[in-house]
């Protein structure tokens, strides 16, 4: 029988990506930013499409259906109706938006055909170029890729066409969206408003708010609930637009918002104060409350015992951890590429199961293959590329490689670790990672300031062998995608002395709080990645050897990039990052590079090369 190939595309807003599905199996998926080296690249993902085709060993004309992850006309309708509803207030925004639409976005179908044609194709795409609704794509990426036969499905993000939050019910190949909350009422936009107000970049600084929250107290949570959001018992909500500017202006918050919280937004890169930490704690507390109520309602409405999550808000792993901890559902599964990139996978799976009506038979594993869906490089290719780059390297056997890397980690060295296929989604999961020893009290500061060049308050995540997770963290389920937060277990914690207990806010950063201080946040939480022998053998073996030699089955795992840079994709990217930072060892495949052996002429000042996020 002929193989059916579906190409999913997300593009033109942020985090463009492409995904290839063959007979319902995800063959490849990648974000465009990894190839163009431009963070959150919104352009047509030509490089990602080319990669997917190469991975599937097919040409663009072999693709049966191309599907785009949202419906441009519906989005245009939302824009027009919003501007009409806010006349004349929205004129500035209208003037900014219309040229893009009149010139390009209204002609998206034609534009997509042209771009596909440029990838050496001759197909006309009549009838085979499809458009999925944005939240259908999110819901499909959550449910169809999940290991569940049936489940409740929640999607939450900034906004798609109209929808900002949806509740769905998945059963086999059926996926029905039962309820929706529409723009301008959006949990994602509420969170982004605080991202903007606390001086971080909208659409990338949300992680920072989440990381900052444990340093603060939720002093403003009641003010948010009293004035900004009318939150109902079922989790539905309404935002008072007097406090926001995103419908009519070109910022997120209005002067009423600034008045309510006592001042103008913090200037980007200016010093953080206790106020920003308290604001972060407040919006995080409100977000968790909304998500918990939505999850409770989803459980009641669908009667299902499993929950699937997607949409940008589903990357809020603290809220996800709360949902799991509260025991509302027996099990939850979160799409690792929960943001817009994952829409490419979701739209393609929606075509397979819904448009083509193909059956679905989950076998207990999800479809994401550990999220290792990107490019890989053979040992021969790695050596060729490194030689061409002027690198000095040695090649080791598998066992020597593991042993040497563990020794470097035990010496508290920062190790760049690039193996196998690149991850799809925002997280590095052990194939494009910088690793460190979590037992070191200096590691968090060193990695933040000398390797990643990012804010010192930001926490790092632990990778732990799946079989050891319950011994170290308050978590007994799989968390392969680093999307659940759990507490470090009591017996692994270190009790602070009286002086340390009296510290406040950011001063608490340098107090060791557990046997693994580099990955223990100030509230004893950790964003856990469980490592499974089945999906990442080499990384699992590294952790096993590290445990044998230190008694600790945990490593610090942070993405292989600097602040503002997309995660590395190729050996050249990895070498450039290695040479521009204080990473001391680089391991690519079976190749090991020591910083002290590299030509001094190739060292570079790297941190100025990327726009800060």
């Amino acid at each position: 029988m002929k193989t059916v190939r579906i190409l999913g595309i997300s593009a033109f807003y942020h985090d463009s990506a492409a995904a290839l599905i063959e007979d319902g199996r995800i063959v490849a998926a990648a974000q465009e930013e990894r190839f163009t080296r431009r963070k959150h690249d919104p352009g047509f993902p030509a490089n990602a499409v080319r990669y997917c085709l190469a991975e599937g060993a097919c040409a663009i004309d072999d693709i049966d259906h191309v599907v785009f992850y949202d419906k441009p006309f519906l989005k245009f309708e939302r824009l027009l109706e919003t501007y009409l509803a806010t006349v004349p207030g929205g004129f500035r925004s209208f003037r900014a938006a219309m040229p893009v639409w009149v010139k390009e976005k209204l002609f998206q179908k034609k534009g997509l055909r042209r771009k596909l044609g440029e990838i050496a194709g001759s197909k006309s795409w009549d009838g085979s170029l499809l458009f999925s609704e944005h939240h259908v794509a999110h819901a499909a990426s959550a449910f169809f890729a999940s290991p569940f036969q049936n489940a409740a499905v929640l999607t939450m993000d900034g906004v798609g066409e109209w929808c900002t939050t949806s509740l769905g019910h998945g059963n086999g190949k059926r996926l029905d969206l039962l309820k929706e909350i529409h723009f301008p009422h959006s949990l994602g936009l509420l969170y982004s408003a605080f991202t903007y107000y606390t001086g971080f970049k909208v659409n990338s600084g949300e992680y920072k708010i989440m990381g900052l929250a444990p340093y603060g107290r939720p002093l403003y949570a009641q003010a948010i609930l009293d004035h900004l959001i009318d939150l109902k018992a079922d989790g539905s909500f309404w935002l008072d637009q007097r406090y926001f500017d995103y419908c009519t202006g070109l910022t997120m918050t209005s002067s009423a918002f600034h008045e309510l919280f006592g001042g103008e937004p913090r200037k980007p890169e200016s010093p953080l104060t206790q106020r920003e930490m308290d604001l972060a704690a407040s919006i995080q507390a409100v977000t968790e409350e909304v998500v918990l109520r939505l999850a409770t309602f989803a459980r009641r409405e669908t009667g299902e015992r499993q929950l699937c999550l997607a949409g940008g808000v589903a990357l809020n792993c603290v809220a996800n951890g709360r949902v799991l901890k509260e025991g509302i559902f027996d099990d939850i599964w979160i799409q690792p590429a929960a943001g817009d990139a994952g829409g490419a996978v979701g739209a393609a799976l929606a075509v397979w199961h819904q448009y083509l009506d193909k059956d679905r038979a989950p076998n207990g594993c999800d479809l994401m293959e550990g999220a290792y869906l990107g490019p890989t490089y053979s040992q021969e290719e790695i050596e060729q590329r490194l030689t061409a780059a002027g690198a000095v390297y040695g090649v080791l056997s598998d066992s020597e490689l593991i042993s040497t890397t563990v020794s470097a980690l035990m010496e508290e060295k920062a190790v760049g670790w690039m193996q196998g296929r690149m991850e799809f989604g925002p997280r590095a999961l052990g194939n494009r990672s910088i690793l460190g020893d979590p037992r070191s009290p200096r590691m968090q500061k060193t990695l933040n300031l000398k390797v990643k060049y990012r804010e010192s308050f930001r926490p790092f995540a632990p990778s732990v062998r799946r079989e050891d997770v319950a011994e170290w963290f308050g978590l007994s389920t799989d968390s392969p995608y680093m999307l659940l937060v759990a507490d470090v277990r009591e017996e692994k914690r270190v009790r602070p002395n009286l002086d340390e207990e009296a510290l406040f806010g950011i001063e608490r950063l340098n107090v060791p709080r557990s046997d693994i201080p580099a990955v223990t946040h100030v509230d004893y939480s950790a964003r856990v990645q469980t490592v499974h022998r089945e999906t990442n053998r080499r990384y699992w073996e590294l952790l096993t050897t590290f445990k044998e030699r230190t008694g600790c089955p945990v490593l610090v795992n942070t993405s292989f990039n600097v602040r503002g840079e997309p995660i590395v994709c190729s050996p050249e990217d990895a070498y450039r990052c290695f040479m521009g930072t204080e990473i001391e060892r680089l391991v690519i495949g079976n190749t090991v590079l020591r910083k002290e052996d590299q030509p001094a002429a190739l060292m570079r000042d790297y941190k100025e090369e990327f726009e800060l996020d």
């Binding site: 309708e77 040229p99 900034g158 997120m252």
Partner: protein, 49 residues
């Protein structure tokens, strides 16, 4: 022409014929708007459009 056909089919599906005068107006004045401005990138806002 394809765009006009698709817009008509969209309006029929959504029962939103009242958008027709807006589309006509945008068609007429669209050229002017395009001529007066380049691309729209709003640095401090979620990518709503």
């Amino acid at each position: 022409m394809e765009l006009v056909r698709e817009l008509w089919s969209y309006m029929s599906d959504r029962r939103k014929f009242w958008l027709l005068p807006i589309f006509v107006m945008l068609g007429v004045f669209g050229g002017l708007i395009v001529l007066t401005q380049g691309t729209a990138v709003a640095p401090f806002i979620y990518t709503l459009f």
